[in-house]
Amino acid sequence: MTDDLKQTCLHNSHIELGAKMSPFAGFDMPIQYSGIIDEHNSVRNEVGVFDVSHMGEIFISGPDALKFVNHIFTNDVSVLQEGGILYGMMCYPDGGVVDDLLVYREFEADHFLLVVNASNIDKDYLWIREHSDGFNVVIDNQSDRWGQIAVQGPESEQTVVDLLGIEEVRDLSFYTFLDAEDEEGGRVIVSRTGYTGEDGFEIYASNANIEAMWRELVGDGVKPCGLGCRDTLRFEAGLPLYGDELSEEISPLMAGLGMFCKLDKEEFIGKEALETQKVCGVQKKLVGIELDDNAIPRAGYPVELEDGRQVGVVTTGYHSISLDRSLCFALVDSSFAALGTVLFVRIRKRVFGGKVIKKRFYQTNYKK
């Protein structure tokens, strides 16, 4: 099994740092170094750095690039400025989700970068190519050539300026990026984005350059953070994870992400199905639930009414580190999705009461 796992360019460093490693999306990835709680708190209060080199980078260019990206993407890239980024999904015709992703509009006309989930790179690349008939575009999957780190937390701007010397990040607003060059003239992309609910940057560069930056940051005391706290942080910030809160079965509207689906666009794959869902309503909705007890709801646990009737299932749950409460996302019958609805989660042999609350559990601190 381990032989089949891919390694990121930072694998040796993870081993040197004594990380607890585990398979994730086909990669041997660090789950934690000093501990999930410690790493989580560093990102909330100071700064931490993540290896996210497993993420996929697919470049799309050509005369029809804008039209094509708008064809496969739920959000509207025609309103995007050069240097701007949009979050959205690629959908199947039935409204199910192929993947959720970021689209970067590059500084060169008709050039876009799609950043996709590691677990979906092959599927996405195939999907994109299969739907490019009739579009004059070049599709280039460069996932193996790019490393990526995420510097996240309130001190991330100062960290990137002081330790990596990229002064221009001060001028980046949320969901914009800049292009820089490394010493060999290689491309470096820095965006003010992240997956933690805090201010922060995602940096893309050659594998060698990413390793140099990582060693600089970690060597200077920036805390290395694993996928364990990446999940606790994104969860508190109300951000979905593909496979848990979005999937072939869970549409963006079910997940409460309708704002990223521009149904007034001329066309995109899945538009009709999403329009129908919007008009007729969806049968299931993703909600946040706060439990009255410290017991921890985990993915797959049943969500019930007081009489024991099952009305949903937990998709992600934790005892929230920043909020010290037991919280979960759950996909429930839409009739029980209103804020304040009393629901119960079955945890092993017992049932714990709670109520529906907003999914953004933690007040995010993005720089606008």
Binding site: I37, I321, I347
Partner: protein
């Protein structure tokens, strides 16, 4: 290398047992707490519950995962450690000082199938 204390008995599922007359005092080993990481919740049985050796009687939850606790002996739960229930991190800090439950054993011959510290060291390496 995880810490193993002489004089205790161990189960293959990483519980430790300290014998005090007819009472088995039960916790989890240093190996178990290290594997789990930060423990945030203890799902305790109730006093008076009857346990059967090998069956689960509760669970420990870390940030990331839950892990069942298995009864190393059969008997009646006579005490639950309230301190550990209120502060689960005590198990990480001092796994052998942080007992979870005390059980009045119904069949002390079951102890024979548990491991001593030397045998346990082989599976908790």
């Amino acid at each position: 290398m995880s810490k193993i204390v002489d004089g205790l008995l161990y189960s293959e599922s990483h519980e430790w047992v300290r014998i005090d007359g007819n009472i088995a005092i039960i916790g989890v080993s240093d190996f178990a707490q290290a594997e789990m990481g930060d423990i945030t919740y203890v799902d305790m049985p109730s006093e008076g519950d009857e346990l059967t050796k090998g069956e689960d009687f509760g669970a420990l939850e870390s940030v990331k995962a839950s892990s069942e606790l298995y009864a190393p002996v059969s008997g009646k739960v006579v005490a639950c450690n309230k301190q550990v229930e209120d502060s689960p991190e005590l198990i990480n800090e001092d796994p052998y000082g942080s007992w979870i439950i005390k059980v009045e054993m119904s069949d002390s011959s079951e102890l024979d199938s548990l491991l001593d510290s030397v045998s346990y060291e082989k599976i908790a390496a």
